[in-house]
């Protein structure tokens, strides 16, 4: 079984950003900790579990701009066998379709049975790459999966939709996008961290595809801060009376 895991490296979701001096984007400074995108990490774990069950190999593919190797090595310490990193800042900041096309260029020759990525990139909040890649490669996609069974014949996956669980089956090749709940990503063991340092990582400057930037981000700013809420304490009677007073006189809801 050959599994490709698309691995985007994103700032830790708890990072406190500063805006850059031009006011166009976040400032990339050393206080930002880069991690494997949390949903992509479910994909990495799923890929490794497939390999552990059925044998084969796991290859990670990353589009990056210089902050990625540490996270790729971590994925390797978890069990990814090799990686491909396209280091190109222009590509990374181009439009999502250009990125999907570049990934297609890299992934297609690998002839993977399963391509898996997160359902969402937590930095840009887009859920585009998995489905777009499926369209470009003309293969099926099952998105937002929260459980997965893989056999030699194909995959069975479920998705938690509103108020119901949906179940899908597919033959290979197939693209899967991972949701929370799919698994708990493992923490590497120490010997694996050492081994990961020697695993092959193919670094390239370009995927050879056209880079288009149809949309330009011109401004970034923090959302307006809300005024702090008021915490009320006291006995149940005091709480109720203070709450009612607040809702009638201050908030004017009642």
């Amino acid at each position: 079984m050959k599994v490709v895991t698309l691995l985007k490296v994103t700032p830790d979701t708890e990072t406190k950003f500063q805006i850059n001096s031009a006011g166009t984007d976040i400032a990339e400074d050393s206080s930002i900790e880069y991690i494997i995108g949390p949903y992509d990490e479910y994909g990495v774990e799923a890929a490794i579990q497939i390999k552990e069950k059925l044998g084969g190999e796991v290859i990670s593919v990353t589009i990056g701009s210089g902050n990625e190797e540490k996270s790729i090595r971590k994925a390797m310490a978890m069990g990814v066998d090799s990686g491909i990193l396209i280091n190109n800042a222009d590509l990374k900041s181009s439009d999502p379709l250009s990125i999907a096309k570049a990934i297609k260029e890299v992934v297609e020759p690998l002839n993977a049975d399963i391509i898996i990525c997160g359902k969402l990139a937590t930095d840009t909040s887009d859920s585009f790459i998995g489905p777009a890649l499926a369209a470009l490669m003309n293969i099926p996609v099952i998105s937002e999966i929260s459980s997965l069974e893989v056999t030699e014949e194909g995959v069975v996956a479920t998705r938690d939709a509103a108020g119901r669980k949906e179940r899908f089956e597919s033959k290979f090749p197939v693209i899967l996008t991972a949701d929370k709940g799919l698994n708990e990503p493992r923490y590497p063991k120490l010997p694996m961290i050492m081994k990961a340092k020697k695993k092959p990582l193919d670094k390239k400057d370009t995927a050879g595809t056209e880079i288009r930037k149809n949309v330009t981000q011109v401004k970034a700013e923090f959302p307006a801060t809300k005024s702090a809420g008021k915490k009320i304490t006291g006995t149940p009677d005091e709480l109720v009376s203070e709450l009612v007073t607040g809702l009638t006189t201050k908030e004017k809801i009642l």
Binding site: S31, I35, K74, L190, T233, G234, T235
Partner: protein
């Protein structure tokens, strides 16, 4: 000065995390600055009223429990004079702090800033505050009063080592500022305020030979004046502002859970790590902790990816560029000791998760004991490092004795330790008063052994109002004469013994 009566909503101020003692008070004050603290203390002193200082309530030795009189709750001391506003996004609290960068980086913080908020602040500015107590919702002033430490003291020492200056209000209500200057006190402790000079007798009681000790004022000829106020349970004054030293953030930290098949393997691993530090050979871990099988079970029940190991050693290591060499070191030691299973947290979130699992141990133990209607009963003993193995073995013996005598389906004790500092937390889980009494006897037996081994009975928690078998805890370490000496020291600055009365030595209750 505005105050409130101690009505139901302030009832938590009458006890602390351990809950072994319930106090009483008539008034509670929430001062916001130093002059308000002065005003309260002067009034109390003139009216002969006891005042007890309350921090974050995370203490476990009853230090903040009031024995009548008034409470000064420090919750609203969130600003320092001349500071700049900074909001802690995690708690939503807005503090005001003062950062100064010259040869060293120093940060002046208010009494009620939590250690977690300080760590968040430091992280935002690529800085680092090394002391890392397990409980991080504690107020920094409480950490100073109890000279708290936690696990990273293995490499970086205790809170005392990071305190550069203190703004204090004396028991009689005068402000003083103490700065670490490098001037040793020699054999005299003289504190000067604007109107008074206090000549405090020099302590001559037993001082343990451990890396950590907070049993009573811990002063010797190499101390500075500021040290009198660190780790003395607030007996000499109210801590209002604290200047701490920060260092640059290490490039990377990892937190390793190392699962060991036998206790001996775990103890050997601890001693290998200590060898590195004692001989100043890299890598020197930030912290080395030992967790016994019972405590591991608590973690396992929360997260079954953590195996039910016989012992768990938690090692934290920081790196700049030498990661490969450092990891090679650990790998070869693990190989040699036959250790196979490890879990390595590398990102901030993963490390926080490991810390969360580690913190579950005391939390679960405290909750279990409370569910039995009993109060926390744990040791805070430390011995000189060469006796670490002995104290662990004695601890296990005491725990097993307790479990065997009464029979337990669940665990009857658990032990974990800041192993690198030879500092053990042996916690008993008595389910009724008979078991409680027996557990206390076993603790006192162990305590006598600790003193024989040149150890301390209070390495980091402070002693507050703790008693063992009817005597103040400190009695077992320094005897009646030592207690009397501390009392003499206290009365020089607080002739009526009104501030934080009952801590370390008992007072007559009204």
């Amino acid at each position: 000065m505005k105050y409130e009566p101690v009505v139901d909503k302030y009832i938590s101020y009458l006890t602390d995390e351990a809950g072994f003692i319930q106090g009483s008070a008539e008034r509670i004050y929430f001062p916001t600055n130093i002059s308000e603290i002065q005003e309260i203390l002067k009034e109390a002193y003139d009216s002969n009223i006891r005042v007890t200082i309350s921090g974050g309530g995370t203490g476990v030795s009853g230090g903040r429990v009031p024995l009548g009189g008034w409470i000064i709750a420090t919750d609203k001391l969130v600003s320092v004079k001349g500071g700049s506003p900074w909001k802690d996004e995690e708690s939503g609290i807005e503090y005001s702090v003062k950062l100064s960068r010259s040869d060293t980086t120093e940060l002046t913080v208010p009494a009620a800033m939590t250690v977690k908020a300080i760590q968040n602040y430091a992280r935002q500015y690529n800085l680092y505050y090394p002391p890392d107590p397990t409980e991080r919702s504690c107020f920094i002033a409480g950490n100073v009063a109890s000279n708290a430490s936690g696990s990273r003291s293995f490499k970086y020492g205790v809170t005392r080592d990071w305190i550069q200056a203190l703004s204090i209000v004396t028991p009689m209500g005068e402000p003083i500022k103490l700065i670490r200057t490098g001037n040793k006190i020699g054999d005299k402790i003289i504190i000067k305020t604007e109107t008074k000079t206090y000549n405090i007798p020099f302590p001559d009681y037993y001082q343990p030979k451990t890396r950590k000790n907070v049993a009573g004022p811990n002063i010797d000829e190499n101390s500075e004046l500021i040290d009198l106020f660190i780790g003395s349970g607030g007996m000499f004054g109210v801590i209002a502002e604290i200047t701490i030293r920060l260092i640059d953030k290490p490039a990377d930290i990892i937190n390793m859970f190392v699962y060991c098949n036998t206790i001996d393997i775990a103890l050997e691993l601890v001693s290998r790590c200590r060898y590195q530090r004692d001989n100043n050979i890299q890598p020197i871990p930030l912290s080395v902790e030992y967790v016994d099988d019972r405590a591991v079970r608590i973690i396992h029940e929360k997260d079954n990816s953590v195996p039910n190991a016989k012992a768990l050693v938690i090692i934290e290591q920081e790196f700049k560029d030498e990661m490969d060499n450092f990891l090679e070191f650990y790998l070869s030691v693990f190989d040699e000791l036959g250790i196979e299973d490890t879990s390595v947290a590398q990102t901030y979130k993963e490390i926080e998760y490991h810390k969360f699992l580690r913190h579950l141990i005391p939390e679960t133990i405290n909750a279990l004991v409370k569910s039995y209607g009993q109060s926390k009963l744990g040791t805070d003993y430390a011995v000189p490092p060469e006796h670490y193995k002995t104290i662990v073995e004695l601890g296990i013996q005491a725990g097993n004795k307790f479990e065997n005598e009464f029979g337990f389906d669940n665990i009857g004790y658990a032990m974990w330790s800041h192993a690198g500092d030879a500092h053990i937390h042996l916690n008993f889980l008595p389910r009724n008063d008979v078991e409680m009494h027996r557990a206390k006897e076993l603790m006192v037996e162990l305590l006598r052994e600790v003193v024989k081994l040149d150890g301390t009975i209070a390495a980091e928690h402070g002693l507050g109002k703790k008693t063992f078998l009817g005597k103040p805890a400190l009695f077992y370490q320094i005897g009646e004469r030592g207690l009397e000496k501390i009392r003499e020291m206290k009365l020089v600055m607080d002739p009526k013994n009104l501030l934080n009365a009952g801590n370390l030595f008992p007072v007559q209750l009204d």
